[in-house]
């Protein structure tokens, strides 16, 4: 299957394909990718210092993250797995809250009322069913909106992937399933997930279109997802889009990829860095300079540091909040247990 690409690793690009992406948008993409990487780097260092919990690094997948999210329109929904905080930032979810979430504070998962975004879903594949159901609702209402889900290569093995795509194909749902194929599911390479050469070709089993995109090319990601989002929204035609990218880090901070991954693989992919190639493009085409780049990085660093500060200054969640939102109205047994907790903590229980 053809790999859709607009901008290659050397900054070469297909001008025709790029024509309808505005300069302003390109700058925005670049900025968001840098922001994401900086947030990520900072998170990794916080984690190492014990100031953050287990983290799934998004390094290497910034173009996929940012490109797909930017393709959305007001009214569309985003349904992420757990390696999409670049997308979340793109959609205006706060960096502070993501620190809180990965710092082990449920409150970080709160999504403001004005955002059509679901919280992080850890169970691999499960949220694809939710995306399909949300698309049913949108279609039932005749709403002009679509649902974009994102999940990893590993998710394509799950029964839920199959059931969701089958439903989408059958009911012609306004949903686009993006797979960030970062080549790994923890230590399992994608060749050990399935015998097909690509993940996109699995779309055939559901009579929906499958597309394969260079996931480190933010232009191609953006453009392809946007096109398919438009089609989903306007024509009720779902799609499966495989973004071919690479997990440059460990699976999470609890993992050590050197146990199972040859270092030369990393080198190949370093050359395909999603941020570098946009920088090359900017330099060549949009009057960019090292100086401007430095400024941008500094500006973004400040933003990240502000988020860290807010995160670290935010209060510890109260123990009682464990009971919040278990039910819309708290039943008697939780009330009783809440009283137990209050008694214990007032008596100076272990923090």
């Amino acid at each position: 299957m053809k790999l859709i690409q607009i901008l290659d690793e050397n900054g070469k690009y297909k001008a025709d394909d790029l024509a309808d992406i505005k300069e302003q948008e390109i700058r925005k993409m670049y900025r968001l990718m840098i922001l994401t990487r900086l947030w990520n780097d900072k998170a990794m260092s916080l984690q190492r210092q014990g100031r953050l919990g287990t983290l799934a690094s998004v390094r290497g997948q910034e173009a996929s993250n940012v490109g797909m999210a930017l393709a959305l329109q007001a009214g569309d929904w985003f349904v992420p797995a757990f390696r999409e905080y670049g997308s979340l930032f793109t959609l205006g979810i706060s960096m502070k809250n993501q620190y809180r979430y990965w710092g082990g504070d449920e409150r970080g998962n709160y999504i403001p009322e004005d955002k059509r975004v679901l919280p992080t879903c850890i169970t691999v594949g499960a949220h694809l069913c939710h995306a399909a159901g949300m698309a049913v609702a949108a279609k039932t209402r005749g709403e002009k909106s679509m649902i974009l889900s994102s999940s990893g290569d590993g998710s394509t093995s799950q029964g839920d992937f199959h059931e969701s795509l089958n439903l989408a194909g059958l009911w012609k749902l306004p949903v686009v399933f993006v797979i960030q194929n970062n080549h790994w599911a923890i230590s399992v390479p994608v060749e050990k997930q399935t015998a097909t050469k690509t993940l996109a070709e699995k779309a055939a089993a559901y009579a929906i279109d499958g597309l394969r995109v260079d996931g480190n090319d933010v232009f191609a990601v953006y453009k392809t997802v946007k096109e398919r989002a438009d089609i989903a929204r306007n024509e009720f035609k779902p799609a499966l889009i495989e973004l071919v990218t690479y997990r440059m880090g460990d699976h999470t901070t609890a993992d050590d990829a050197t146990r199972y991954r040859k270092p030369d693989l990393l080198k190949t992919w370093e050359k395909r860095d999603p941020i570098e190639r946009v920088k090359k493009y900017l330099m060549k085409e949009l009057d960019w300079s090292e100086e401007k780049d430095k400024e941008l990085v500094e500006e973004c660093t400040k933003e990240v540091e502000q988020a860290v500060k807010e995160y670290e200054n935010s209060d510890m969640p109260e123990p009682e909040t464990m009971f919040d939102y278990m039910y819309n109205e708290m039943p008697w047994h939780l009330k009783e247990q809440l009283e137990e907790v209050k008694e214990l903590t007032q008596a100076g229980g272990k923090k």
């Binding site: 069913c129 609702a137 039932t140 029964g159 059958l170 039910y327 819309n328 109205e329």
Partner: protein, 325 residues
């Protein structure tokens, strides 16, 4: 007011709530033109069309999972699982997602959905068609689990469940679907979730059960009445969160408790009731709490079904044992 069977009452509740609230939709295997294998959804597709009455592919995980998505995006789905024994393909979606989105999103996403499923033995069916595993759902924080035992409650509780802001597992004792008819109010009404019903008052011993066990317990109560034992019969109606007050008050009065369920005994719902009554009412207890239940086996096929299904004889025996303690 007309006399209706439980299945008719359920069907009526669905019709009325779909009319009343256009965000209510129904989905599941064979819920469309077939009207469901027990006819619970009869006539819905004619009235409300395919966009609100959805025959799904044969895939329980996505029936529950898609219903969750619908609930997030503004609908109130009522998903049918054809038999409770097939819900386990969708168990992850119930436990890890339906029950958790409200908390996971810190209040942003309520999941107003109902999963209906016929449960229990009594229709001499094939394997997996007679399961009574309410305990699995009762142990899922965030869920609400409801089981009616009469046509009237079936309608009222289903309406309450559909209007409930969170996920409800609504289990229908299939043995009672056509067991008897009774007067069922025509209009929309609510039977409160979380409230047990004392269906027979008594002073000597408390019997607690739900669903298909209610007629069995009533029969037993009549039987011992002739022997001068005055049994109180409580229909729990909601399993999670259950009405602890009605039970403990009754035990405070009677000092004796027999719990009846058709599910396997060990680690069943009866265990929790026994445990909590033991915690709260130890000094009131005049005899050990007895459990009359299905055995810890796979529900037998038709030839032996009745040997596993608790009957009034077994309940009477437990009452005797308790009274004689």
């Amino acid at each position: 007011m007309a006399r209706k069977s439980m299945i008719q009452a359920i069907n009526e509740a669905l019709h009325q709530k779909m009319e009343d609230d256009e965000t209510v939709v129904v989905l599941g295997e064979d819920v469309g033109i077939d009207g469901g294998v027990f006819r619970a959804t009869l006539g819905l597709i004619d009235k409300f069309g395919e966009s609100r009455v959805m025959d799904t592919p044969l895939a329980e995980s996505s029936i529950v999972g898609a219903a969750i998505g619908m609930a997030i995006n503004g609908l109130k789905p009522v998903a049918e699982i054809q038999f409770l024994g097939f819900i386990y393909q969708g168990f992850d979606q119930i436990l890890c997602h339906a029950a958790r989105y409200l908390h996971r999103s810190q209040g942003r996403y309520s999941i107003p959905m109902v999963v209906r499923a016929p449960y229990g033995a009594g229709v001499k069916a094939l394997e997996h068609h007679s399961e009574s595993t309410e305990a699995h759902f009762a142990h899922i924080p965030g869920l609400t689990v409801v089981i009616p035992s009469t046509p009237k409650d079936a309608k009222g509780l289903l309406i309450s469940s559909i209007e409930h802001p969170g996920p409800v597992i609504y289990l229908e004792p299939k043995r009672l679907y056509r067991y008897k008819k009774e007067e069922v109010p025509e209009e929309i009404y609510r039977t409160p979730i979380g409230k047990a019903e004392t269906v027979r008052e008594g002073a000597d011993i408390t019997l607690v059960g739900w669903g298909g066990m209610i007629p069995v317990m009533q029969e037993a109560a009549e039987h011992v009445d002739n022997e001068g034992v005055d049994a109180e019969v409580i229909d729990l109606r909601t399993i999670l969160p259950f009405d602890v007050e009605t039970i403990t008050k009754s035990v405070e009065k009677t000092g004796r408790l027999v719990i009846v369920h058709e599910a396997p005994r060990s680690f069943g719902v009866g265990a929790e009731i026994a445990a909590i009554v033991g915690e709260r009412n130890l000094l009131h207890l005049l005899a050990p709490i007895q459990r009359v239940t299905g055995y810890d086996i796979i529900p037998p096929l038709s030839k032996l079904e009745d040997y596993n299904y608790p009957n009034s004889e077994r309940v009477v025996k437990a009452i005797h044992k308790t009274m004689e303690f």
